[in-house]
């Protein structure tokens, strides 16, 4: 009954994301605020919209409520469509019992019916924890031109970091000859970005084969890709040179926010031709008060700044009271920094209150975190690397 689509995107929104600590205790990772007015999921979804891909399945089984509310009808990304749209896809029961997602491949296996509704030629697989702008249509065209079974987006990483990535070794034609997961001695520095284009027929066949193997961990990197390599399928690397940043840890989330403060920033969010869309929260312009001082920072709607903000990224509705200081920090929506408080090298969660004279973070060392909805006590100290909150 649905119209055919050339390509359907499946976004692996992941599990709890425990490396983000208390920030994901009650929120799915893709719903984490980023860059003042975005959530992480805005990046892959806006990329889809801008690439003309208008069916997006979001695979998740961990606390989807906030993500669900955030996605809503899909209108912020022009994905509130009769013919297409964005759908949150949790595990479901098929009669007797249901099954939770066992791995990335299994989550797509369980949603093959969703995909087949659109009778697509290709399936784009994305992950929900990277900040980047990428034209998936160009990658898809490369895949079509190369007549590949799967095309994997790769980017060069520093040689010393190759042991943190899935490394693709290719021949002179860009065909992937070998895949090494986090190799100690990498042969190349082409790291997988976790962005795949599959020819759907091939994908379906390998998903079914994988599901029938009880020993498999049902994962793309560990099972599906190696199986395809072993079977001599055509695996092609697609080079991507733009900004790309994993935000799966506290440090990297903080760093990616700080990257936006460089001039020029390594990722241009002003770009009118490639907007990153976000849900509107209906707040007025921000206000810088008579005593407010803002240096090298990003401020967005609803903010009321009467204190001093330096090298920081503040989300919507953040209040910085007179005499408060925020330095080298990320402050998430509606947090309040009270009089005399100092926040430095820290991430302050949504609706958190840094009470009068509290001190969060230190000049050096690991990032300090105050969890969502956490109210510090007056004068409380949160040391570098510490996470305050439930």
């Amino acid at each position: 009954m649905l119209q055919k689509k050339q390509c359907v995107a499946m976004l692996l929104a992941g599990g709890q994301g425990s490396r983000l600590g208390i920030l994901t205790r009650r929120t799915a990772k893709p719903a984490i605020p980023f860059g003042g007015k975005y959530r992480i999921i805005d990046f892959p979804v806006s990329n889809c919209t801008n690439s003309g891909i208008d069916v997006v399945g979001v695979l998740t089984q961990y606390r989807p409520l906030e993500l669900n509310a955030y996605i809503g009808s899909g209108a912020p990304w022009d994905l509130d469509l009769n013919n297409g749209g964005i759908f949150v896809l949790p595990p479901y029961s098929t009669g007797k019992d249901g099954e939770w997602y066992k791995g990335t491949a299994n989550s797509i296996y369980q949603n093959m019916e969703f995909i087949e509704q659109y009778n697509p030629d290709y399936v784009l697989v994305l992950s929900g924890d990277h900040i980047y702008k990428m034209d998936y249509a160009a990658m898809l065209n490369h895949h079509i031109k190369e007549e590949a079974a799967v095309t994997i987006a790769v980017r060069q990483v520093p040689w010393e970091e190759t042991n943190r990535f899935g490394i693709m070794n290719t021949d002179e034609n860009g065909n992937i000859t070998e895949f090494e997961e986090k190799p100690a001695n990498a042969k190349s520095n082409n790291a997988s970005m976790g962005v795949y284009v599959f020819t759907w027929d091939k994908m379906r066949a390998y998903l079914i084969e994988d599901e029938n193997n009880p020993k498999s961990s049902n994962d793309f990197g560990k099972n599906i890709i190696p199986n395809m390599l072993n079977a001599n399928e055509k695996l092609v690397a697609y080079n991507f040179n733009g900004y790309w940043k994993d935000v799966g840890t506290i440090e990297s989330l903080w760093e990616a926010n700080m990257d936006l403060l460089e001039d020029p920033a390594p990722i241009d969010l002003h770009d009118r031709r490639w907007r990153i869309y976000a849900r509107n929260v209906g707040l007025p312009p921000h206000f810088i008060g008579k005593k407010g001082e803002v240096i090298n920072s990003l401020i967005t709607e609803g903010g009321v700044i009467n204190g001093k903000v330096t090298n920081s990224v503040l989300s919507g509705g953040v209040v910085v009271e007179e005499g408060a200081e925020v330095i080298d920090s990320v402050v998430m929506p509606s947090a309040v920094i009270k009089k005399g408080a100092v926040v430095r090298r820290a991430i302050i969660g949504e609706n958190a209150v840094v009470t009068e004279d509290a001190i969060v973070g230190e000049k050096t060392g690991d990032i300090a975190v105050v969890g969502n909805n956490t109210v510090l006590s007056a004068g409380q100290k949160v040391a570098s690397g510490e996470q305050a909150g439930e």
């Binding site: 860059g35 003042g36 007015k37 209108a75 912020p76 001039d263 969010l269 002003h270 907007r275 990153i276 869309y277 976000a278 509107n280 929260v281 209906g282 707040l283 007025p284 312009p285 921000h286 206000f287 810088i288 008060g289 008579k290 005593k291 407010g292 001082e293 803002v294 240096i295 090298n296 920072s297 990003l298 401020i299 967005t300 709607e301 903000v309 990224v313 503040l314």
Partner: protein
């Protein structure tokens, strides 16, 4: 829950004293408070009062209103049961402009007839105000009124020689109406917003036009009051309104929003003001930025000094520039070392490097849209 009120916004009349600001747009489309247009407040007032069926009577220069309203989606007014109905002028009458609200209502009787709600709230668009229509209706019902006119006692809404003023008795009944008096006798300024039973309005319009009237207030209402045909009551607006009928009034309405207590009137967390989105990134303050007592929208790059100003979306203020007491609309560019004070820069205007433009708050200079100086 659902409201039993249909809303109608009349975007017909502009004050000539708005000059360049409304040459290219209706007053309803005038940008205000950093990211809005005046009509956003009317629509959001209605939607936040549960009204889901809104008609907009369009007149001249309505392309910018069409752009602003789009599908109505930002106000959740894009439904098929109800939503936004655009009512453009047609060559039903020979002259292509309405001579007034009464004329406009007559031309749009079919909208009034096919609406299903029992009551209708009609508003002019040259005014910025907050209202809870559900409270207006409650008052209307309590007073057993036929028609309820919304008024304010705010002094700033009074003008010598223009405006409509109401004499109201202790039972909220409107006894007298003054139109454009040289000095208003009554302190109650009618703000051009009224509520009435929908079918009664249809009758009123039929009756008034059959008598050859053109003007809703000065002719029709005045006659009805004289004859005692209907029970006309007043409802006092609880919050201050801003009448936007001149460049000065426009300037001061914006500047007043730098006062937190005024901002609180407009921006109630439970009743957000919706507007068309631009999906701009947050505003970037450079290392040399010095900003104080200013309202700043998203998508700006601020490298210079800004004081006591309203900065709209996408504005760039270069290093060394000093902006004081200004309203800088969307996508304007203030180049290096510019000095600008008490000016209104319309959309997509540019001031070239080193330029100076200084006027007084009493007579702010307007730089018209798209101009580079």
């Amino acid at each position: 829950m659902k409201s039993d009120i249909v809303g109608l916004i009349y975007t017909g009349e502009n004050s000539e004293r708005l000059r360049d600001l409304t040459r290219i747009r209706s007053v309803a489309a005038l940008p205000i408070l950093g990211r809005y247009r005046i009509i956003d407040f009317m629509l959001s007032n209605m939607v936040n009062s549960g009204i889901h069926n809104v008609g907009i009577i369009l007149q001249q220069n309505y392309q910018s209103l069409l752009d602003q309203l789009g599908s109505g989606r930002e106000w959740d007014l894009h439904g098929k049961r109800a939503g936004l109905t655009l009512l453009p002028p047609f060559a039903a009458s020979e002259h292509s402009y309405y001579t007034g609200l009464l004329d406009a209502l007559k031309s749009n009787l079919s909208f009034l007839r096919r609406s299903k709600e029992r009551y209708i709230a009609v508003t002019d668009s040259g005014i910025l105000y907050s209202i809870r229509f559900e409270e207006l209706l409650a008052e209307h019902l309590k007073n057993e009124a036929d028609i309820t006119l919304v008024y304010t006692k705010d002094r700033d809404a009074r003008r010598n020689g223009v405006g409509r003023y109401l004499g109201i008795d202790e039972n909220c009944v409107v006894k007298h109406l003054e139109v454009d008096p040289s000095i208003p006798r009554y302190e109650n300024t009618y703000i051009g917003v009224f509520l009435v039973r929908r079918e009664m309005l249809i009758d009123m319009v039929d009756r008034a036009t059959s008598q050859g009237f053109h003007h809703f207030t000065r002719e029709m209402l005045a006659r009805f009051l004289q004859e005692g045909t209907y029970k006309v009551c007043g409802y006092q607006l609880p919050l201050k309104p801003w009448v936007i009928d001149s460049v000065q009034a426009y300037y001061h309405a914006n500047m007043d929003a730098l006062d937190p207590t005024v901002r609180e009137m407009f921006f109630d967390k439970d009743r957000p003001i919706w507007t068309k989105l631009r999906d701009e990134m947050p505003t970037r303050y450079a290392t040399g930025a010095r900003v104080s007592n200013s309202l700043v929208a998203d998508g700006c790059v601020i490298e210079g000094t800004v004081e006591n100003s309203i900065i709209f979306r996408g504005v760039t203020i270069r290093p060394g520039a000093v902006v004081k007491g200004c309203i800088i609309m969307q996508d304007a560019l203030i180049s290096r070392n510019v000095e600008i004070e008490n000016c209104i820069m319309d959309k997509q205007t540019t001031i070239r490097e080193g330029g100076r433009l200084v006027s007084t708050a009493a007579y702010p200079t307007v730089v018209p849209k798209n101009l580079t100086i």
